[in-house]
Structure formats: C-alpha cells, structure tokens
C-alpha cells in the first residue's frame, strides 16, 4: 500500500449505510455524546440497533471485518431497508445517555469524595499505630470512633459500593494493610448480617490484628525473599506478642481473640495453636479470611502480587478447606468474580478495569472502558448493571494488555478498597 506525505493512511474498511446489517462490527467516528450507544465500537446484534445506527444518517460507516460476524453475501435483513426508525425512542435513548454522562460525573465525584474519606481514615490509622504504645487509651478511643463512623454510614443502606482507590491517593506510602482489612472485614460482616455492635468489634480488631508485628524486626517483615525457618517462627510469634500488647492497651476479650487467632485455619494448618473448625473464634475466622485475601493482593514483595481475581480464584479453588465456607462464599459474592482492580475483557471485545462493585450485584461491576477516541480523563465509565447487552468475558493479567490500553487503564500496583460512605439512596438506577 503506497504511503507518503500526502497520502492518507487507510484506517479501515468503509461501507455505505445500505450495506450495513446485523452482525457488522462498526466503529462510529462520532463523539460519544452524538450517538446513543454505550460504546463507540460494537457489534450490531439486533435489528433495533441497526435501525438506531441508520438513524444517525451516516453515509458510510467504518467497519472492522475481522470482528464482524456477517458473511459478505448475506442478504440485507428487512431492517436495513426499512424506512425511518422510531425517532422518539432514539431521542429517549439520547436523553438517557446524557443522563448517564451526568451519572459518570457523579460516580467520579463520589470516587473522589471516597478517596478523601479514605485519606482521612489512613491518617487516623497512622496516628493509631503511633499512639498505641505511648497512649493506648487515646488509640483505642480513636479506633472505636473511626469504626463507629464507618459502621454508622454502612448500615444505612442495603447496597454498598466498594471502590478501588487510585494509586495516587492510596499510594504505597498510604497503603495501610490494617485499614484495608478493616474495610473488607466490616463489609463482609455486614454481608453476614452481623449486628452493629459486632461489626464495631470486627472493625477495631481488624485495625489491631497485627499489632504484635511491632516486636518483629523490619528485616523479617520487609524481607522480599522466602523466610528461613527461624525467621518464619519469629514472624509467627506476632500473634502471641499481639495479645500481650492488646492486654496492656486494655483491648476487649473478643479483640484479643482475633489478634491471637487470625492465622488459625479451618483445616488445622494454621498457627499458633493449629486450632480446627469451630474451635477458632468466629471473628478470627472472618478477619483471617480477609487478611489472607489482602496479603495475596498486596504482598511485601510486589512482584509476587496476583490480581484480585486470581487471589479470590486461588482461595476458592485451592484453599477452600482453610476457610469458613460460608464466609468465603459471602466474600466472593461481595467482591464478585471480578473484584475492583481486575482488568477485564468485555463481551463486546472492549477492555476495561473494574472500578467498583455494588455488593448487591457482584457480577455486574462498574467498569472504566478503554476507548481510544475518548481522552483518559473522561474515560467512559459503564455500570454493567445498566448494560444488559454487555458482560465481562474474561479477567486478564495487566501485562496481557496491549501497551496503549495498559497506559489508558493504568492498573493499580496496590489494590486498596474503600466503601462509599456518602451514598444514601443506593446506586442511582435508570
């Protein structure tokens, strides 16, 4: 193909609108706001969609033959030859779409607000670990206050949105394992229909579950390579040390139990006592489960990190006997098959990253979609719950992504969650 300064690059195949039919994969060269579809590029699946495309009045349409599912000699269906489509219907779609732009903005605003809340909580968290030894009373009081605030807002709604925090906010410096565990634990506790009093204990004990690590040298805590037997033994002692610290700080008995037993496993393979099944206190099981999940997603050695999807899969497929079955099931239901932070390929062949999960509809997450025609800052955010046509086809590893898509979606190095504390009416739905 000749290519020079004055000749254009051929960028695809164009067909006239009367050649267009169901099964063509089209690429609309219009602003996203100038057409009623969720995506700029998609497969025409129904005659209705075809009519809507024709209603745009385009003389020619760019198609991607490779992704089209139509034989070239296939006769055009009736729809293509039919006269003007139902205008009002399309108008309604456009109105709806504009409303969705509004909602996009709203989601973004809420995520931003959420990030601010998270930052505040992270700051309190940092104070906590400082105060715990010097001023235990103050530390316990502020932990209680923080958790009470969380459970208060959490219990107002049946549905809870779990958002992925941006690395820039929840960067490595602000990554607080205990906060992350506390958030997930409280959310899981709510899914298990625990009372607010119990949820408060869950939250506080999650915040303090690792206090015993203060006595373990950083050399062991931050070691990226596998620990030696001796180092591992030392590390395991943090459960015991934690109880001592907790007693001194005047933490309640249920909290102390979590600190002492959050590494026990249902099959008896945990530590320090190798307790089995029901012998492990319930809250210790709950926090142990969430703790395990967070450690898989955010290990000390970041190179060993696996995606949230992989982490849940691993726990479900291989480690199922270690965990409380009901709790694991609830965790999976809560985070879904594609937890926030998972990079996915959608059924319409687009790429995206899961931003948020509505715990009531875990298989239909909110996804940020890659579209080369839309600037990253204004990336299309699609709530799959409102897009019955489109689903998640597959979870991907970030390095499977083509370069430009990776740049666009910029998957997080740390997977940090926070719930949406400002939501009072549930997710707005069309």
């Amino acid at each position: 193909m000749p290519y020079g300064e004055d000749t254009g690059v051929s960028e695809g195949t164009y067909i006239t609108s009367d050649e267009l039919r169901v099964g063509h994969y089209i690429c609309l060269e219009l602003s996203w706001l100038d057409h009623p579809f969720s995506f700029n590029s998609f497969l025409i699946r129904t005659p209705e969609q075809l009519r809507e495309v024709l209603a745009l009045g385009l003389k020619k349409v760019r198609i991607d033959p490779a992704r089209s599912k139509v034989a070239s000699d296939e006769p055009a269906p009736d729809a293509a030859t039919q006269e003007a489509p139902a205008e009002p219907e399309v108008d309604a779609v456009m109105v709806e779409k504009r409303a969705r732009v509004e909602r996009n903005r709203e989601i973004r605003t809420r995520i931003n607000a959420c990030e601010r809340e998270f930052l505040q909580a992270a700051t309190i968290c940092r104070e906590l670990s400082k105060d715990l030894f010097s001023n235990p009373k103050k530390a316990v009081a502020s932990a209680n206050a923080l958790i009470k605030q969380v459970t208060d807002s959490l219990l107002m709604d049946r549905d809870v949105m779990v958002h992925l925090m941006n690395d820039k906010v929840a960067g490595e410096e602000v990554y607080y394992h205990s906060l992350n565990v506390a958030m997930l634990a409280v959310l899981l506790g709510k899914a298990l229909d625990l009372s607010q009093d119990v949820l408060n204990v869950v939250g506080v004990s999650a915040l303090f579950h690792d206090i015993g690590k203060a006595d373990v040298p950083d050399k062991i805590l931050l070691k990226k390579e596998a620990l030696t037997k001796a180092e591992d033994e030392f590390l395991r002692q943090h459960c015991v040390y934690g109880i001592e610290h907790g007693k001194r700080a005047g933490l309640s008995e249920p909290v102390l139990q979590v600190i002492g037993f959050h590494h026990e496993l249902m099959d008896g393979s945990g530590y320090p006592k190798g307790l089995k099944g029901e012998a492990i206190p319930r809250l210790a099981r709950l926090i142990g489960l969430v703790n395990a999940y967070d450690n898989l997603c955010n290990p000390v050695n970041q190179a060993a990190a696996i995606t949230p999807h992989e982490a849940l899969s691993l726990m479900y497929a291989k480690h199922r006997p270690r965990y409380d079955e009901q709790m694991l099931g609830k965790l999976i239901q809560m985070l879904g098959v594609y937890p926030p932070g998972t990079v996915v390929r959608l059924s319409n062949e687009s790429f995206g990253m899961v931003l948020s999960i509505n715990s009531a509809r875990p298989l239909r997450p909110v996804v940020m979609v890659y579209d080369e025609q839309v600037p990253k800052e204004e990336a299309i955010i699609v709530d799959l719950d409102t897009e019955p046509e489109v689903g998640v086809a597959k979870a991907l590893r970030p390095n499977q992504l083509p370069r430009q898509i990776f740049d666009y979606l910029s998957p997080r190095k740390r997977v940090t969650y926070y719930f949406d504390p400002n939501k009072s009416q549930g997710t707005p739905r069309p």
Binding site: Y3, G4, E5, G329, V337, Q373, K376, R403, D407, Y408
Partner: protein
C-alpha cells in the same frame, strides 16, 4: 434397562469428561470413564459428590448458587477449573446442558482438558511480557512501523523523546505528523519524512534537529520476518549533548588551529627578531670585555656575556621545540660531507672538553662519507648529545662513534653513539628522558642549567628524519645516547661540488704568531689555537710581531689591527717590505665598510672580525694548513665568517636569497613566504627611492628610518645580502658618513636587483 445400558455405553465411550448432575441436590449422579480417569477419582468416589467440590472456578460459585435457587442456565464453551482427586486443578473448556430426568432436572456437564492450550497461553503470555519488558527497558525510543507506514508499536521512551501523549494520538498519521512538526525544517537538512518513511533494505540514519533545540538521531532498519520485509524499526536517541560536545570540540579545534598558525608566524618573526639582537649582545659584550681595563668591570661584562650565551641556547631550544611541536619544522635533504660535518661540529666541543680536563674522541667505523640528509639537524643533535655528555661527566671523557648499518647503493643507516663516563641515568628516568620538560632531576637542572628540552628536540628531530634515538645507561657508570638515521648517498655530481667547497684539512699543526695586546683575547685565542693542536707564540704589539716574524718561521700570523705603538697595518707593511710572504690575518673589531680592502691594501692576506668565533678562526687556519694559499677574496660566505662584517662585495656574490631558511623560519609556510615577498616588492619600490632621496638631501635620519624598516622586510623573506646592505646604510648614516652610506646604498640596489632577477615575476 436396555436404554440405560445404551446410555451408559455411550457415556463411557466418549472422549470428553461427562458428568451428570442433579439440579436439585447438585450431587454427581453419574460420571463416565474419561471423567474418572482425568479427574483421578474412583467412580464410586465421584458419584454422590457435590459438584461444587469439583467445579472450583470463581464464577462456578455463582453458577451453582443460581442453580440452587432454581435459576438454571446453559453454558457453552466456558472456561472452567475442575478439582482432581489428588488436589491438582484441571483447566477445562466446558458446556452445561439442561435435561429432564425422571426425578427432576438434570444438568449434563461436558468438559475437555484445556491444559495444553492453557499452558501454551501461559507460555505465550510469559514470552510476550518478557518481550514487552525488553521493549520497554531499552534506553532508546523504539517505533515499529508496518510496511505501509502504520504504527505497530512504540515504547514509552519513544513517547518521552518525542514528547507525545500516547493516549492523545488518535491514529498513526498523527504520530508521524507530530514527529515531523517537532522537527526544525531547515533548508538543506534531511526531511524527517525521508527517514520515517524510508523503505530501503539498508539502515537509514538521520539526525533530526528539533524545534526545542534537541537533536534526535533516528536510525531505521527493516523489520524482517522470515526474510520478508514486514516493516521498519526506528531507533531514536537524544544526541543533543553529544552534538553540543562535538561542536564545542570542533570549535576548540578550529580555534586551536588558528592560534597555532598565528603562533607559528609569530615564532618565525620572533626567531629572527630575538636572534639578531642576541648576536649583537654577544658580540658587544665580548668586545666590551676585551676593551675593559677595570678588572671588576670586566668580570661583570664576562658574566653578562656568559648569561647571554646561556640565554641564546635556551631561546634556540624553545624556538626549535615550539616549531617542532607546531609541526612547522622542515627537514632538508641535501648532499653533505659527513667527515667535515663531524669534524666541524666536534671542534668547538673539544675545546670545551679540554677546558674541563676531559677527552672527546671521535671513532669512525666504516661509513660512507658523502651522504644526503639534513646536516644542520644532525649537527644540532650531535652538539646536544655531546654537550650533555660533557655536562654530566666529571672525569674521563666522551667518545662519539659513527657507524653505518645497511650500506646499500641508495642509502645507509647511520648510527651515532655518544658514550660518556658520567653520572648515568636511573632506569625509571630513562623512560621519560626524551619527553618534554623533564630533566634527570630538578636539582641537576639547577646545577647544570638548560631548558631540559634538548633531548626532546633531539628525539623529535630523529623522528622527523625517520630515525630513532635511545639511551643505555647504568647509574654511576655512564650513559650511551645513540641515534640512527636513514640517509641517502650523494650522487657523483654532488660529491664533486662538495669536494670543491672542501677546505684543506687542518691535519697539519701550524706554528702561529698571535699579535694581540688584550690579555683576555691572548688567553682566549691561544687556548683555542692550542686546543686545536697549533703552536702559538704571543706578542702584544706590532714591533714585537715584526721582530718575531723576521727571526722565526711561522705558518700564519694573526695580527690585531689596533695595537699600541706600532699597529697591525704598519707591522704588516714592514713584514711585507722585509720580503716575508707569511699569511697574515688581520683581526679587527670594526664592522666598517671597506675594512677588508684596507686590510688587503696593507698587505694582509685575509681578516677576521672580532669577536673571533672559534669555527671561523679554525676553518680559516685549516685553509692555510693544507699548504694552500688564502682563498679568493669574497669567499667569506663559506669561511664561516659572519657576513655582517665582511666586505661590501661579498653579499653580491652570494645567493641573493636564502629561501629555504626563510620558509623554515616561517614554519614551513611557503604561501606565507610568497605573500611576504609580494609585499616586499611593493615596499622596496617605494623605499629604495626614498633612501636615495634622503641621502641626496643629507637627511641621515630619514635614510636610517627607511633603511631600517626595509631591512626587516628583506630579512624576513631571506634576502640576506640585501638586508645586510640595508643595515650598512643604516649604520653608516648613523655615523654621519653619508658618502659611504651612498656606496652601501649602491650595493643594496645591486643586491636588490639580483634578488628581483631571481625571484620577481617580470609581470
């Protein structure tokens, strides 16, 4: 029953994993042989097991939850993960269909082992991410274009270099346009499109100057897949700093070259301008010392003279060294007499040696006598090495050995070894001894003086003459400095010419009478003469000289012209009147025009000007030693006599211009010499009539001024005879003898005309 058996047979015959699940209980009702085999379960262990024990992909949790709540959905070609009896996980591609069983709804799960494709996918992913890591880890920006110019890929470094936002680039063209827009498109520079779109099979390289001041080097190479050109790979790197550095370097080099050239012409001028007054200082201090009556005054003047001599050596060294370093040293290739060269060179050094009680021997092995090379430079090396040897030797002596290696018909390799019995040189100092600015050690430098450049100059001269120099030494037991030079053999014609020029050899010791009233000169001259093996009798006035000549036989008389009582002229006349034909050489300090004629007119055979230079004296005596008479008057040019004090007609007979020397003094720049010569013609055409006019009008000052400036211009181009005549006009005008100056002017015009005849283009 038979239907069930048929079904079972079908089930077990399938190559796929088949599991029959009860939708109500989600327990496995039946499994085929393939299922038991692949999942590594005994049939009885499989049947009755909850399906969720086997199905363990994350989405299965949701699927079977839905089934439990009565929402049955069929699945086709879904990815799945089955837990095996041994704990392994089996990746599968599965389908689930709904069937109506006798007791309720059944689900039929059909699965195919996907390990192979999933392993292949994993491997592909691993190698893809490795390739991507490499792609991103290179220091250079990479852009991969398809054959039609479409962009296949680029890395972050590329985006960074070209400052493009990878996300805002909608299409391939906009990336290329962005790159071209970033370039500064100057007339005559490579169009960036050429390298971006080149389809050559070879590498194309361009340095693109960007508007922001940076320079990016882009290299495009074909992307080959299975020997087919599939596109091009462009490698981009920021070479701004390197280019800046190179430019600075080039500028510095140009500046250095310019300053080198300026330095060379400056040196050429300085060489002339410094040596001339130095000669004046040396001559005048010598005369002043000779005439000083006060002992202390004389000591001071002697010290000044010695200092001036030392200074001249240093200046000569520095000028030579600078010229060599500037690459402006021109080596001549002329025929010469090796024996004469060595004899003449070593003669004054012998005197120096004997003064310090040292021997200086010359041993000649078999070596050709008539050679072609640069005798001046060989002499310079020899003087340096022997001078050094003497300087560093306290007792014993110095032996110079000359040998010829590889004596072929065309040429020889001459080896000269200068061996001393001095203090020697330690091995570590031997290494650096030929490098600039080192001397055996700083203390020695202070003790013996000198610039320390002598050996460096020798080494460079040897290098220039394509020879080599080296040293063998043992501290305490002396050193031997040797050099080897390739030299040509002189042709027959040349040998004849050389032989004709040859003075008779001073192989006969002469009986000499020295008539000289100054004690210092008596000492000096008698020392020189005795060192050369002559017998010397000294008298201090004309009358004693006359008596001596009349009473005893002398081969030569050296007669000071000015003596108390009977002066040299009168004594000579009396000697001639007495019928004596002994050669009488007048010694005079007068640099006056006509002095030669005056000497001859009083019956003298030849004359020497004071201060008497050893070489001039000895070579003149050599002429008489052979029994031959005095040379024709006017042969002064080859007698070693300083031309500035020889007779008026001498310059006219000499070569009007010493072109080679002048060009050498100009650093070998013949163009510069021609330029100066052109300027001279113009100047002389104006200045010569001006001098004539000034002399006619008795304006001595004007005559001097013009003569003086013309002299410099003549000297610079090497018109030595004319320059000397010019100097004489100046001198005589200064003395107020305008008539004599007029004669000198005529000589100047004659010299100048000879010069024009030879060098000036008639056009």
């Amino acid at each position: 029953m038979s239907t069930a058996a048929h079904a079972r047979a079908l089930l077990s015959g399938s190559g796929d994993i088949l599991l029959l699940v009860d939708a109500a209980t989600r327990l496995v009702l039946d499994a085929n042989a393939k299922a038991c085999e692949d999942l590594r379960y005994a049939p009885e262990a499989l049947i009755g097991r909850p399906i969720t024990d086997l199905e363990c992909a994350l989405q299965d949790a949701f699927y079977w939850d839905d089934v439990a709540s009565g929402r049955l959905v069929e699945l086709h070609d879904a990815e799945g993960l089955l837990a095996c009896g041994d704990g392994e996980m089996l990746p599968v591609v599965k389908s689930i269909t709904i069937d109506e069983g006798p007791t309720g709804r059944w689900l039929v799960l059909r699965a195919v082992d996907a390990r192979a494709s999933s392993a292949a996918a994993d491997e592909l992913e691993a190698s893809t991410s490795l390739l991507r890591s490499i792609f991103e880890s290179t220091a250079e920006g990479l852009l991969v274009l398809e054959i039609d110019g479409r962009i296949m890929n680029f890395n972050h470094r590329f985006a960074e270099l070209w400052q493009l936002d990878p996300l805002s680039m909608r299409d391939d063209r906009s990336v290329l346009r962005h790159m071209v827009r970033a370039c500064r498109l100057a007339r005559g520079e490579t169009s960036p499109w050429r390298v971006l779109l080149s389809r050559d099979e070879d590498e194309v390289e361009a340095q693109l100057a960007l508007r922001d001041g940076r320079t990016i080097r882009v290299r495009a190479r074909p992307l080959l897949m299975q020997d087919q050109v599939r596109g091009r790979v462009l490698t981009c790197s920021d070479v701004t700093e390197r280019i800046m550095y190179e430019r600075e370097l080039a500028a510095a080099r140009d500046a250095a070259a310019a300053s080198e050239r300026a330095k060379a012409s400056f040196l050429a001028m300085m060489s002339h301008e410094i040596r001339t007054p130095m000669a004046g200082i040396l001559g005048m201090t010598e005369i002043a010392a000779e005439q000083a009556t006060d002992g202390q005054q004389k000591r001071f003047i002697d010290m000044a003279h010695a200092s001036a001599e030392g200074l001249l050596v240093i200046i000569n060294d520095l000028l030579d060294f600078s010229k060599i370093e500037a690459g402006k040293f021109v080596i001549e290739s002329i025929p010469f007499d090796r024996e004469a060269l060595f004899d003449q060179t070593l003669q004054p050094l012998r005197w120096q040696a004997s003064e310090r009680g040292l021997r200086l021997d010359l041993v000649t092995g078999g070596c050709a006598r008539w050679l072609v090379g640069d005798p001046t430079r060989i002499r310079q090396i020899l003087i340096n090495l022997v001078g050094n040897a003497l300087k560093f030797t306290e007792r014993g002596g110095v032996t110079v050995r000359v040998d010829c290696l590889d004596q072929g018909p065309e040429g020889v390799r001459m080896r000269v070894a200068v061996q001393d019995s001095g203090i020697g040189i330690s091995p570590d100092r031997q290494k650096s001894i030929f490098e600039a600015f080192t001397q055996s050690d700083a203390q020695i430098g202070r003790r013996f003086g000198g610039t320390g450049l002598g050996l460096t100059i020798c080494a460079r001269l040897c290098e220039l003459m394509e020879g080599r120099i080296w040293v063998d030494s043992q501290p305490g037991s002396g050193s031997t400095f040797s050099f080897e030079l390739p030299l040509g053999r002189a042709g027959e014609q040349d040998v004849a010419t050389l032989e004709a020029q040859l003075p008779e050899r001073a192989d006969r010791h002469l009986r000499l009478l020295l008539a000289e009233d100054t004690e210092v000169n008596q000492l000096y001259l008698s020392h020189v003469l005795r060192s050369a093996g002559h017998q010397v009798e000294i008298v201090d006035n004309g009358r004693s000289a006359l008596e001596a000549v009349l009473s005893r036989d002398f081969d030569v008389v050296l007669m000071d012209v000015q003596m108390p009582g009977m002066d040299g002229f009168e004594a000579t006349e009396r000697i001639r009147e007495a019928g004596q034909t002994v050669p009488i050489v007048g010694l005079t300090a007068h640099a006056m025009e006509g002095i030669r004629e005056e000497c001859l007119s009083h019956g003298m055979t030849d004359y020497l000007s004071k201060p008497v230079r050893t070489t001039a004296l000895l070579s003149m005596l050599a002429r008489f030693a052979g029994g031959g008479g005095p040379r024709e008057a006017g042969g002064g040019a080859s007698s070693g006599e300083d031309r500035s004090s020889t007779g008026r007609d001498a310059p006219a007979l000499a070569d009007p211009i010493n072109r080679a020397e002048a060009i050498r003094n100009l650093g070998g720049d013949e163009g510069l010499w021609r330029e100066l010569l052109g300027m001279l013609w113009e100047q002389a055409d104006t200045d010569l009539p001006l001098i004539r006019e000034a002399l006619d009008q008795a304006d001595a000052q004007q005559a001097r001024d013009v003569a003086h400036r013309l002299k410099s211009s003549l000297a610079v181009v090497g018109a030595e005879p004319a320059a000397l005549a010019c100097a004489r006009v100046d001198d005589l005008a200064r003395l107020g003898d305008l008539a004599a100056a007029g004669l000198a002017y005529d000589a100047l015009v004659a010299c100048y005309e000879a010069l024009c005849a030879q060098e000036r283009d008639p056009n």
